[in-house]
């Protein structure tokens, strides 16, 4: 089993600026309906979206990406389960994870001051190790 760790940091003011400049196009390009709903539309929205963008980038760092790059919307910070946000992968991201033997990705989000940070951890089971538990 290989332990995979990805981390990313995102300045919140950059997300604020993008929301002001590109609005709905920016939201729809990067975030799923569920993420947009969970982040609301208030003073905390930009920092929440920044944390989610960092999570997407952190996941991209643990995937073995070749020719086909997952879209940002195929990597989703979903709802909260047992006080922790869930990481959901769809489409190309899910297929890449499957090929690497990744069954679940865990994520931790943090926001402080001007930045948002996300760390993801996943265990990958190689085919030579047989079926993962």
């Amino acid at each position: 089993m290989n332990l995979l760790v990805g981390i990313d940091i995102q300045p919140i003011d950059e997300v604020e600026s993008s929301l002001r400049t590109f609005g709905a196009r920016y939201r729809r390009l990067l975030f799923t309906d569920r993420e947009l709903e969970n982040c609301g539309d208030n003073s905390a929205t930009s920092s929440r979206l920044a944390a989610r963008f960092a999570a997407k980038e952190a996941v991209l760092k643990i995937l073995d990406i070749q020719d086909v790059v997952p879209s940002w919307r195929s990597i989703e910070v979903g709802g909260v389960s047992d006080c922790r946000p869930e990481m959901n992968l769809y489409g190309v991201a899910a297929e890449l994870a499957r090929l690497q033997g990744i069954r679940k990705v865990f994520v931790s989000l943090s926001r402080s001051g001007d930045v948002a940070v996300a760390t993801v951890v996943a265990s990958a089971w190689s085919q030579s190790q047989g079926v993962s538990p």
Binding site: Q10, E14, V15, S17, S18, T21, F22, R25, Y26, L29, L30, F53, E57, L60, V69, S71
Partner: protein, 84 residues
């Protein structure tokens, strides 16, 4: 500098958040090595769509598309933008 390159550089100046002077970049310089982030590349793509009235298809939404001024120009030409 061609008209298209001038417009690309203006987009880079406004949205690239590069820590260096855009005018000092050569055609094939790696923008990521010069500080371009993934988030800034998103802004560049959206700004290029506005500037050139094009839409980037999913197949072009990859790191290599925004790797250099030459790569951006090539992507725009593939979308029907004229070089002159």
């Amino acid at each position: 500098m061609s008209a298209i390159d001038h417009r690309i550089c203006e987009v880079l100046k406004q949205h690239g958040r590069l820590p260096i002077e855009v005018g000092s970049l050569r055609d094939d310089d790696d923008l990521y090595e010069h500080g371009l982030t993934s988030h800034a590349s998103v802004n560049i793509m959206l700004a290029l769509e506005d500037e050139f009235d094009v839409e980037f298809p999913d197949v072009l939404l990859r790191k290599g598309t925004f790797q250099s001024i030459a790569a951006i120009r090539s992507a725009l030409v593939s979308l029907g933008v004229e070089v002159s």
